[in-house]
């Protein structure tokens, strides 16, 4: 496995929000999903994940609810709020614009 690259905090927020856009997940589920989808490249550290989750919750973009997990254990599920959804859209658009611009610079200089 390659070393997990350091992710900027804002980017982590974006990834989390996107992961939650489909369905509610708990913290472990979010980390697993990100790892899977990125092909094991992005491995989110617990030390970054949970503070980020709590911060997003305090900011009102995600909402938490306790429920039963797959193996019937008590887990805290996070889901997106409408405000979070709007924020996600905005940030996604920003990211695409930014990465396109970086790509252009890398190609042409």
């Amino acid at each position: 496995m390659s070393k997990p690259t350091d992710l900027v905090q804002g980017t982590l927020d974006l990834l989390i929000l996107k992961t939650l856009a489909l369905e509610p997940r708990h913290g472990w589920g979010i980390a697993q999903r990100i790892r899977q989808v990125s092909g094991d490249v992005l491995q989110v550290n617990q030390g970054a994940l949970y503070p980020a989750l709590h911060r997003l919750e305090q900011n009102g973009w995600i909402r938490a609810k306790w429920g039963g997990s797959e193996n019937n254990r008590h887990a805290k599920y996070y889901s997106l709020t409408p405000a979070g959804r709007k924020y996600l859209e905005r940030e996604e658009a920003n990211w695409r614009r930014l990465s396109a611009a970086i790509g252009l610079v890398l190609e042409n200089s």
Binding site: H26, G27, W28, A31, N45, Q46, G47, Y50, P51, H54, R55, E57, Q58, N59, G60, W61, R63, W66, S69, R73, H74, A75, K76, T81, P82, A83
Partner: protein, 895 residues
């Protein structure tokens, strides 16, 4: 919309902290377990899986902290944490806490309670509409600008010709009316006022109507006599019933109709607790309302918009000068002055209150300094604790904040205590003021808790907080952690504090000295006042005033007969050595008139002198000293030539080097009988007595003439009786005897002469100031002793090692004792050196309060210095002895 989610979350993390923490732990544990499962699924053994998962998880504590940080309630939770910690710390050193809290509470109580008085008297405006525009107008006499009242015709002139006042009114001197209640008679206070009086003040009656506005000259005509009651009078005489309007009241034999009742909060300080307000009426042919010589009316006026005090003053003076030209006889040399009404009312109390406030402020300063040094000591002792905490990662801000919260806790506790004590102190102080004096200072009664006092208390609180938060924080070992952590505090790090700490205590000692000086000066002033030469013997002298119904004794013969009967019945009582009557008792007043001297026309006719009408035996009953000539006797009666006795001051002023016996003078504008005016009716001087103190104890002695009662009889006078036994016990008998002579007589003011002197205003104020100042000084001394003790004790504890070394090297116990005492001695000396000029300055500022005492009285300063030195020695002796008892071996072994 996000706040809908945010606020409950934040509040939840504040109030349901345990629950939230538990949730967080569970969440992280869930993640961990899943990780372990994954590891096992990948082939690790359970133990390996667990270790690997834990390793990968990282520091759970840090993760939790970061989560908590994101909750945003950090500051509040940390503050609550600090408070809890601070409380525990304070509880662990109860001695320090109790001393600090009590000291600060004491200072705050003193300052806040005195400020309450200052606020209600000096800061709050008078209870009239727009009081800053209200003025009091006085006439000034040629005798050194003494303020006098207006005569009624002069007032009419002022009213007619002034250009500065929007409205103006006058009030009479306080009269005693006899209120006949059918069966019994009572003596009540009443004032005659012009019809516009309440309108000038801007006061409307609670019930009924104001006096109908009439032009001034109509005030005196035969209109139905009307009266307005004060609120207490309404309650007392009419039971507070609303049907009082239209009822009649019999005052001095005349019927008055009640037309109104004043509001409960109404007060008019110059007239005290007046119950009945009537319009001016010519009672029994009173020449005071027609002649210009009787100047007893007070004048209040409201300035017109845009007119200044200066302009009004000039205007009044111009009118007065015109009167002087037109009526040179009474009004020559009389000027006018206009002062703000507040100044006229409060002039006397102001310096006393300000001095007391300064004293309380100094006491508060000492309290602040004391607690600050205590906190400094504490912070010194905790240097190591804070060095460790700093090394473990506490931020500098956090450490400072720890001190701040401790300081806040102390300030909060002492404020609560202090404010409670202030309320009690205030009530106590008010109770100590005698009731009739309080009636002349009605503003004091209203004072309690209000915005001003609350704001002042808050200010003191904030200053204390700032002070106590800063002082220990200044000493935190931010730069030199190693020194703080080091085991042996060998004294080098302590000297900086000692320098600061000792400087503070020196300030305390100096302030205490200033307070002691103030108390000493006031005390000596009181002593001087109570031991002045009164000119008569006050002991065993019973006095009271009587008022006979004017209807029965309107003729001279009747009054003379009454007076003779009273004197003889009193003299025949057992235990009575002598009895006499006078129009005014000593320390009670002196009347007033103006005389001119036969064959000395150059002196004019307006020499103001006191005028007292006495019975023949009066002066000898007083045991006044007869210097020349004779007392009055039975021959000086109604038909005989007019005679008078004068006092020494009159001789000194007008008959220097000449024998006054046989000389003559005449009255100008005689008070009670205009027929006696003028050079055609000269009065011959038959005797000279040494000065008898007639007016206030601390007032000047004025020239006085005494004339026999038979030649100027009247229905009201005062009685003085010299008893062989206790005067107080004789009073009831005297009253009974008087009522036997005529039950219609109203007696009042029964008191012994020593009582009258003790309770006189001057004596009262001096005594109150001296006691209060003494109280402050004693408290300050106590606090300073505690402070000095603390400083020396701490210094000794820091130098234990050094002392051990000294003793091991051969120093004797005595020399160690001397060393410590020398340190204390230096502190005291510096305190004295700073304090002496401070005391002198304080004495000079207090000049107006002192009676016959120099501001820089060397004896007092020396005595205070001695007291302070003794106190300092006392304070430092115990720690010094402890230093001397140090066992060198013990001191050197333990650091």
């Amino acid at each position: 919309m996000r706040w809908i989610y945010k606020s409950p979350l934040r509040l939840r993390s504040l109030f349901k902290k345990n629950w939230v923490e538990q949730e967080l732990s569970e969440e992280l544990r869930f993640h961990l377990e899943n990780q372990i499962e994954q590891n096992i699924a990948q082939g690790m053994s359970p133990q390996e899986a667990r270790y690997s998962a834990l390793r990968q998880f990282g520091n759970v504590g840090t993760i939790k902290e970061e989560c908590r940080d994101s909750w945003g309630m950090r500051f509040i939770t940390e503050f609550l944490q600090d408070l809890g910690y601070g409380l525990r710390q304070l509880r662990r050193s109860p001695g320090f806490t109790v001393v600090a809290v009590l000291t600060l509470a004491l200072g705050m109580a003193a300052a806040v309670s005195i400020f309450g008085f200052v606020d209600s008297v000096l800061i709050r405006p008078l209870p009239y509409s727009n009081p800053s525009r209200l003025m009091a107008v006085f006439k000034t006499s040629p005798l050194g600008g003494r303020q006098m009242g207006y005569s009624y015709p002069d007032y009419l002139d002022l009213e007619r010709f002034n250009a500065a006042f929007a409205s103006i009114a006058a009030y009479d001197g306080s009269e005693s009316y006899v209120l006949s209640d059918g069966a019994s008679v009572h003596r009540v206070n009443g004032i005659g006022v012009t019809s516009g009086f309440f309108r000038v003040l801007g006061v409307t009656p609670l019930l009924g109507t104001d006096f109908s506005s009439r032009s001034a000259t109509e005030d005196l005509q035969a209109v139905p006599s009307t009266v307005i009651l004060s609120y207490p009078a309404w309650q007392e005489w009419f039971g507070g019933k609303p049907d009082v309007l239209g009822k009649t009241v019999t005052l001095n034999g005349e019927a008055y109709t009640v037309i109104g009742v004043l509001p409960r909060s109404f007060q008019f300080a110059p007239t005290g607790a007046t119950e009945f307000w009537t319009t001016l009426h010519p009672y029994a042919g009173n020449p005071c309302t027609s002649g210009r010589g009787c100047a007893v009316m007070g004048v209040v006026a409201r300035l017109k918009n845009g007119i200044t005090l200066q302009q009004a003053s000039t205007d009044a003076q111009a009118i007065s000068a015109q009167e002087a030209r037109r009526y040179p006889d009474p009004d020559r040399n009389r000027g006018a002055s206009v002062v703000p009404l507040s100044q006229a009312i409060l002039g006397n109390i102001r310096p006393v209150l300000l001095a007391l406030f300064a004293g309380a402020g100094l006491l508060l300063l000492i309290a602040y300094i004391n607690v600050a040094s205590l906190l400094l000591v504490r912070s010194e002792n905790r240097r190591r604790e804070f060095a460790v905490r700093g090394a473990l990662g506490a931020s500098r801000g956090r450490l400072v904040w720890q001190f701040v919260t401790e300081g806040i806790l102390i300030v909060a506790a002492s404020s609560a205590l202090g404010l409670f004590a202030a309320t009690l102190a205030r009530r106590l102080l008010l109770k100590l003021i005698p009731a009739d004096m309080l009636s002349f200072m009605p503003c004091l009664r209203g004072s309690g808790w209000n915005w001003h006092v609350a704001a002042f208390a808050m200010l003191l609180l904030l200053i204390a907080c700032a002070l106590f938060a800063m002082t220990p924080a200044l000493r935190l070992p931010f730069t030199n952690l190693r020194a703080g952590l080091a085991e042996g505090n060998l004294g080098a790090a302590g000297t900086a504090w000692r320098r600061l700490g000792t400087r503070l205590v020196v300030l305390e000692l100096a302030t205490t000295m200033v307070l002691l000086a103030g108390a000493g000066l006031l005390g000596k002033s009181l002593y001087r006042l109570m031991h002045i030469d009164l000119g008569f013997v006050p002991g065993h002298l019973a006095t009271l005033s009587i008022l006979a119904p004017g209807s029965k004794y309107s003729k001279s013969a009747q009054a003379i007969a009454l007076q003779r009967g009273i004197v003889s019945s009193l003299q025949s009582l057992p235990g009575v050595a002598a009895a006499g009557t006078a129009s005014d008792l000593p320390v009670g007043g002196e009347g007033g008139t103006q005389i001119g001297f036969v064959d000395r026309p150059g002196l004019g006719e307006n020499n103001a002198v006191g005028h007292i009408i006495v019975s023949p035996g009066y002066l000898s009953a007083l045991q006044a000293q007869l210097l020349k000539g004779r007392y009055f006797n039975e021959n000086d009666n109604a038909g005989a030539p007019l005679v008078a006795i004068i006092n020494q001051t009159l001789v000194r002023r007008y008959f220097r080097g000449v024998n006054p016996i046989g000389r003559q003078f005449f009255y100008h504008a005689h008070g009670s009988d205009a027929k006696l005016d003028g050079p055609a009716h000269p009065t011959r001087i038959v005797g000279v007595i040494a000065d008898v103190k007639q007016n206030a104890l601390d007032g000047p002695v004025t020239p006085v003439v005494y004339t026999p009662f038979d030649q100027e009889p009247g229905p009201s006078f005062s009685v003085a009786v010299r008893t062989s036994q206790s005067a107080a016990a004789a009073l009831p008998t005297l009253i009974a005897t008087l009522h036997k002579t005529d039950p219609g007589i109203v007696t009042s003011g029964a008191a012994t002469m020593p009582e009258i002197i003790q309770d006189s205003q001057a004596a009262y104020w001096h005594r109150a100031s001296a006691w209060l100042a003494g109280g402050f000084a004693a408290l300050a001394l106590a606090l300073s002793i505690v402070g000095l003790y603390g400083v020396i004790a701490y210094s000794v504890s820091r130098r234990t090692h050094e002392i051990g070394v000294r003793m091991a090297l051969g120093a004797s116990r005595g020399s160690v004792l001397r060393m410590i005492l020398k340190e204390a001695g230096w502190l005291t000396l510096i305190g004295l050196v700073i304090g002496i000029p401070g005391s002198i300055v304080a004495g000079m500022l207090m000049r107006s309060l002192l009676f016959d005492v120099h501001s820089w009285n060397v004896l007092i300063l020396g005595a205070i210095a001695a007291v302070l030195v003794t106190a300092a020695l006392l304070a430092s002796y115990i720690p010094a002895r402890r230093a001397a008892k140090v066992d060198p071996m013990v001191a050197l072994r333990y650091e």
